[in-house]
């Protein structure tokens, strides 16, 4: 199916982060490869509701109890989701980079819509790590950085090994230091 070895050369889970704030620039890092599995499951789960709706609609309205047509209709969203799940997460994973530079956190991401964000440390309000049940099963965690910005006030780095996520959170919290009052 998918070649699991594709993506960035460095595996982030190998080297623990240096907690010293004086460490200066880090190399850009990628996410944990397992994040692709998480994305795939998420994409597949997205098909659940459309499939149910289409199935029910074709059963009750369009084909009047024709179970074959209903099953076929219900399968369409799954098919679409499967194609997306095969094609997208790998590329999304390959596009994801985060980097702790000397004065800011950089996030580069997006396949179709590229997004390169810079969060200066002085602008970080607080940092969270979060973990959903599925992420816990997969051994993943995500770091959310909150700023005081009016529109896009939080940025999330998904799919990190929990130890990496916590180290990154501690490091960013330390680097953030005092925040300018609004």
């Amino acid at each position: 199916m998918i070649d699991e070895t594709e993506g960035p050369p460095e595996a982030p889970s190998e080297q623990p982060l240096e907690p010293s704030p004086a460490a200066g620039r880090d190399e850009p890092r990628g996410l944990a490869p397992r994040v692709r599995t998480w994305w795939r499951i998420g994409i597949l789960l997205n098909a659940l509701v459309p499939s149910a709706v289409l199935g029910a609609a074709s059963w009750f309205a369009a084909f009047r109890g024709d179970w074959r047509a209903a099953t076929g209709a219900a399968l369409v969203p799954w098919l679409v989701a499967a194609i997306v799940a095969v094609r997208v997460p790998g590329r999304r994973y390959a596009a994801w980079r985060y980097q702790v530079t000397s004065d800011a956190l950089r996030l580069d991401r997006g396949v179709m819509f590229r997004q390169e964000s810079v969060v200066p440390f002085t602008r970080i309000q607080h940092v969270d790590t979060e973990q959903g049940p599925l992420e816990r099963m997969l051994g993943l965690s995500r770091v959310t950085v909150h700023t005081a910005s009016g529109t896009s006030s939080s940025l999330t780095i998904p799919g990190l090994a929990p130890a990496d996520a916590e180290a990154l959170r501690e490091r960013l919290a330390q680097l953030a230091g005092a925040v300018e009052p609004l």
Binding site: D103, Q115, V118, T122, G150, E180
Partner: protein
């Protein structure tokens, strides 16, 4: 009811602002809690019972009507008992609210308690007060009453504390007091760093709250503002669509394109014998448009009558209103950006509206603010903007930049091919609409073809109007097609700097530079910069941001010494969030 509490525990993450409910209930007169010194808590003015009762009546109109309807089926007694009972209930509620609402001026915080069953106790440290506004509705004005709104930087839609109602005099003196306390609190915190910052003004702490009028707007200008406000355009569009519906039902033979093009000749040709239509236009639509215009003019005059912009100490204060007075003040240090907008109708006259974006503010109300945007001047000439910039950002000298035309070397502009990108994007949009229309009225397909050159012209215009310039520590972004917007943001206020690139933009090697500040409406997008330019601007701006807070003190933003290291929260197990789709 939201039970937020504007607690200012400075060394905890912002998220913990939802502070624990303080156990301050029971007797208000007694000592509030063990440590706090007794603060004299005051009640609102007695008339607030009446005002609250009226408000309840207004919101309770529906149940009242229901009861009244019931009475028609069940006999007259029901009316008496039902309506009477509700009125008494409302009155009891108003009295209880009055009895349980107290406010007080603590040594370093403003205290507010309210709630009959769910008691609520708010403590707002003076230095956390974002703005203090007094307002007066027409009725309140008649009774010489007013209300006081206290806002903090919490991103919310409503003020944190609303004192409704006080005697107008008291409201004003309370406002003065709160503003002075805030200045004192901030001054005390900043005092060690501020010796270099206060060049012109005297010592910040004892600085008297003397006010300087910066600008006033007279009735004539307000009438111009009303006449050029876009509401008229919207109304015209509505009228035309209504007119079109009339036409299609009564005069099916009329050629619509002629009408849309505004060619009077073709309209009269098409009308032919349809005198009724001519009459309709003359007797109904023209008066309606004129009337709506008048309403718009009157509305502007009523809302902004006697508009005065003052500088009081380190705050900006605007006051205006013919019937309901609004006095809103914003601390200058909270200003995040300035936004000058020229609507389609105003641009030909070189006019526009100047707004201030402040951090997280709910705004001073009176319809003159939305999100964090507050009207600084409802109408202003384009060439006067540069005079007002230093009022808000004293270290900005943008006169030459703002006077320079967009093709001046000072402005970094989108790549010329960007016009093609914009044209392509809008062509796709137009085609989508056309497809929708054609699905319903296939015969229209040919007639909308003339829309495309129009859209392409607009694309060319929009590419031409865009520009970004970084001068003197301030970023200015201009954009727009028929309407124009200009955003001025100080570099030091930038929160997040992003480079974004969609699929179409990648094709043309361009990207969007997004600059955000802390405040809704304080964002500026510079669209279609060459990718390399966008990236280098991103790097430059990031590198110049203050590394530590002490660097900030060279500006009007006084540095705070709240250098308490942040401790991030514990690992929170959130609900599973599915990743976005494609």
């Amino acid at each position: 009811m939201p039970r937020r509490c504007a607690s200012g525990s400075r060394n905890s993450p912002a998220r913990s602002n939802r502070c624990d409910e303080p156990a301050v209930t029971g007797h208000d007169e007694g000592p509030a809690s063990g440590a706090a010194p007794a603060v004299e808590m005051q009640r609102l003015h007695g008339a607030s019972i009446l005002f609250h009762w009226f408000a309840l009546l207004r919101s309770g109109l529906f149940p009242l009507v229901l009861v009244a309807l019931q009475s028609r089926t069940r006999g007259g007694d029901w009316l008496l008992y039902g309506v009477g009972g509700l009125l008494v209930l409302f009155a009891a509620g108003s009295i209880a609210r009055f009895l349980f609402t107290r406010y007080g001026l603590g040594p370093d915080a403003f205290l507010f308690r309210s709630g009959v069953f769910a008691r609520q106790s708010r403590v707002i440290p003076y230095d956390r007060i974002q703005s203090v506004n007094v307002r007066q509705s027409a009725l309140q004005r008649l009774l010489r009453m007013g209300e006081l709104h206290v806002e903090t930087a919490t991103q919310g839609s409503a003020a944190e504390v609303v004192l409704r109602v006080l005697r107008w005099r008291d409201a004003q003196s309370l406002r003065e007091h709160l503003v002075a306390e805030r200045r004192g609190a901030l001054g005390a915190r900043e005092a060690p760093a501020s010796d270099a910052t206060q060049g012109a003004a005297g010592a910040p702490v004892e600085e008297a709250a003397e006010s300087t009028v910066i600008a006033t707007v007279d009735v004539e200008q307000l009438m111009v503002a009303g006449a050029t406000s876009n509401n008229v355009g919207v109304l015209l569009a509505v009228l035309f669509s209504g007119f079109d519906r009339l036409r299609s039902s009564f005069f099916a033979e009329l050629d619509f394109t002629g009408l849309l093009a505004g060619s009077l000749v073709s309209v009269t040709d098409a009308i032919g014998a349809s005198w009724a239509l001519a009459l309709l236009v003359l007797l109904v639509i023209v008066p309606l448009v004129v009337a709506s215009w008048m309403v718009s003019v009157a509305g502007s005059v009523v809302r902004y009558h006697g508009f005065t912009l003052e500088r009081v100490g380190r705050d900006l204060r605007r006051s205006h209103g013919l019937f309901s007075r609004v006095q809103a003040s914003v601390p200058l240090r909270r200003a995040q950006a300035l936004r000058f907008h020229q609507s389609v109708l105003r641009r030909p006259f070189g006019l526009g509206e100047l707004r201030l974006v402040s951090a997280g503010s709910a705004g001073g109300g009176g319809g003159a603010s939305s999100g964090g945007l507050q009207v600084l001047l409802p109408i202003l000439r384009r060439d006067e903007v540069s005079r007002f910039v230093p009022v808000v950002f004293p270290d900005a000298s943008l006169d030459t930049l703002l006077a320079a035309p967009i093709d001046d070397a000072a402005w970094t502009r989108p790549k010329p091919v960007a016009a093609v990108r914009i044209a392509l994007a809008s062509t796709v949009r137009v085609l989508l609409v056309v497809a929708l229309v054609a699905a319903v009225w296939p015969e229209w397909l040919g007639r909308v073809a003339w829309l495309l050159p129009l859209v392409w012209g607009l694309a060319w215009m929009r590419r031409r109007a865009r520009g970004i310039a970084v001068v003197d520590g301030h970023v200015v972004v201009r954009e727009g097609g028929l309407a124009r917007t200009m955003v001025i943001l100080p570099e030091r206020k930038l929160q997040l700097i992003e480079v974004r690139q969609g699929p179409l933009q990648r094709l043309f090697g361009v990207a969007t530079l997004r600059l955000t500040t802390a405040g809704l409406g304080g964002d500026a997008d510079m669209v279609d910069l060459a990718l390399a330019e966008a990236r280098s601007l991103q790097d430059d701006l990031t590198a110049r941001l203050p590394r530590t807070l002490r660097h900030v003190s060279a500006s009007n933003v006084s540095a705070s010494h709240a250098s308490v290291p942040r401790v991030s929260g514990p690992v929170s197990l959130h609900r599973e969030v599915l990743p976005d789709g494609v």
